[in-house]
């Protein structure tokens, strides 16, 4: 569904990604794990056109999306939950969710999805008239995920959803990500430092070091891999 082929990208004169190839199949959960500064976020920014490619290509359903501006991707079925969540702080929870469905015209469908989101995260229903900036970190992450699925994406990109959250909240959020994948068939590409949680819900995983993919396998086998255990799982 989403395919990166030998992607090279960077900031100004500094190259960050070196021949990165990743394939995300339809209905899969794929995790990209790696340390701070490995190039995980840059990979996502390359997909949504914020960082230009120097070479290589990115395909969505077999079509190149190289050079497609970020605001056109939503229309093509790709939604993103960015690093640091980027909630609109002075918009209410309801308005944040409405912005997630900005390009949609089907009012009934939007209403159904809103109900669905409030079912996944009942706390958001209670806080729908509250400003986004007043929510706790965990609630903001729930809102960011909900805002992304309000676009009814076929592919959901998540950047470090566990960042700065309590272990209990992390487990809840990863459970919901898995649920979205199972119940709605949404393809998920997850970028995470929290390798253990990310691999536990994923089908396959990629390990990134210094801007290059160094290892790829099924998630179960990566969890058993000695190198991964030592470097990322702290075992």
């Amino acid at each position: 569904m989403l395919k990166l082929i030998d992607v090279e990208a960077g900031y100004g004169a500094i190259p960050v990604l070196h021949r990165v190839s990743i394939e995300v199949g339809k209905g899969e959960i794929i995790s990209l794990i790696g340390a701070n500064g490995a190039g995980k976020t840059t990979t996502l920014m390359a997909i949504c056109g914020v960082v230009p490619l120097r070479s290589g290509d990115i395909l969505l359903d077999g079509q190149s999306i190289r050079g497609v501006p970020g605001n056109r991707l939503v229309d093509m079925g790709v939604s993103q939950v960015p690093e640091g969540r980027l909630i609109f702080p002075e918009l209410t929870v309801a308005e944040n969710l409405d912005m997630g469905a900005f390009l949609r015209k089907d009012r009934q469908g939007i209403r159904d999805d809103l109900d669905h989101v409030f079912e996944l995260f009942p706390i958001l229903a209670d806080r729908r008239h509250q400003q986004g900036g007043t929510l706790s970190g965990g609630e903001q992450q729930m809102l960011a995920i909900s805002r992304a699925i309000m676009a009814r994406p076929r592919v959901l990109l998540l950047d470090e959803p566990s960042l700065g959250l309590a272990p209990l909240v992390i487990r809840q959020i990863f459970g919901i990500i898995q649920k979205i994948n199972r119940e709605r068939g949404t393809t998920i590409f997850l970028v995470e430092q929290n390798a253990h949680q990310a691999l536990k819900i994923a089908h396959r995983g990629y390990v990134m070091e210094n801007g290059a993919i160094t290892l790829t396998d099924t998630a179960a086998r990566l969890l058993e891999n000695e190198g991964v255990k030592k470097a990322y799982l702290g075992i």
């Binding site: 605001n71 056109r72 939503v74 993103q80 960015p82 609109f88 002075e90 900005f102």
Partner: protein, 300 residues
């Protein structure tokens, strides 16, 4: 007491005009953090367009209110086209440049437009026809308030109420607020940020043109330089209220208008600007973010 109310309404009228212009400064600042110094010139161009159009219509022998109703839309469209174009040629190419570059570009645009009108029209003051029709009801309060004051205040209030409703309830209005709060995320949810920025310039310019036509008709004369002082005053009003805040710009405009009128009425008209800018200094010392502005706190 009658004198007090006369000054009060004079301040309200000035304040409404300042508020209309200040909205353009504050909306643009809210979205791209730029002080659009050419905004005062948009107001001046709105007034000049109205002068030309009303001159042509006046020659046809139409009554004042009919001329006003036809002149105002033309001035608004013309000024909006200027605002839109200025953004495209002077600010958009500098969007990723250091903050100082678009600011200097804005000052350059302001000087360019002043001189353009100076050369294309005249350096002298031109008489502006009184387009605001006399209202019988108001004329009974003669001396305290005039018809044109009532029309200015009511028009400004309606325009601002419309703007507030647009920003608060429509999807495009929400998209404008979302873009102001996080342009990157706005792009990620599918908002065309360039379009939102253009719309902001168009709305701001339209409001300035309304202000320009109303005040020119009230005062009765214009020249190429009226945009400069009006622009500085409206910018002051926007900072007073809290730059980036829409209700702040409205409130800041009124506060500034009353300050000037009461200073003129009870002290001396020589001190009008002294009081206006002294108020700005005081507010900036005690409430640096403005009356309704929020201090910039970044949550990490």
């Amino acid at each position: 007491m009658e004198y007090f109310f006369e000054i009060f309404f004079d301040g309200l009228t000035r304040g409404s005009i300042y508020a209309l212009i200040a909205l353009g400064y504050t909306m643009v600042y809210g979205i791209i953090q730029l002080i659009n110094f050419a905004h005062g010139e948009i107001y001046m161009i709105g007034a000049f367009t109205a002068l030309i159009v009303s001159g042509v219509l006046g020659a046809l022998g139409l009554p004042g209110y009919a001329i006003l109703l036809m002149t105002l839309p033309v001035a608004v469209i013309y000024a909006s086209a200027y605002g839109y174009t200025i953004e495209k040629i002077a600010y958009k190419p500098l969007r990723n440049a250091p903050r100082l570059s678009p600011l200097i570009s804005a000052i350059g645009m302001s000087i360019f437009l002043q001189n353009y009108v100076l050369l294309a029209q005249t350096p002298d003051f031109l008489p502006f026809p009184s387009l605001l029709p006399p209202l019988d009801v108001v004329d009974r309060f003669h001396g305290v308030l005039s018809s044109s004051e009532v029309i200015i205040v009511v028009t400004a209030a309606l325009v601002m109420a419309g703007l507030t409703a647009f920003i608060k309830f429509t999807r495009m209005g929400k998209a404008m607020r979302a873009t102001a709060q996080s342009p990157r995320m706005a792009m990620l949810v599918g908002i065309n940020v360039d379009q939102v920025i253009s719309l902001t310039f168009i709305i701001g310019s339209a409001l300035a043109a309304v202000g320009g036509v109303l005040i020119a008709s009230h005062v009765g004369q214009i020249n190429f330089y009226i945009g400069f002082l009006a622009g500085i005053k409206a910018f002051t009003a926007a900072v007073l209220g809290g730059i980036g805040s829409i209700p702040g710009a409205m409130l800041g405009g009124l506060v500034l208008g009353w300050t000037e009128s009461f200073a003129t009425g009870y002290v001396s008209s020589d001190y009008e600007d002294v009081f206006a800018f002294a108020l700005l200094v005081l507010i900036l010392i005690f409430r640096p973010a403005g009356i309704l502005g929020k201090p910039a706190i970044q949550k990490v």
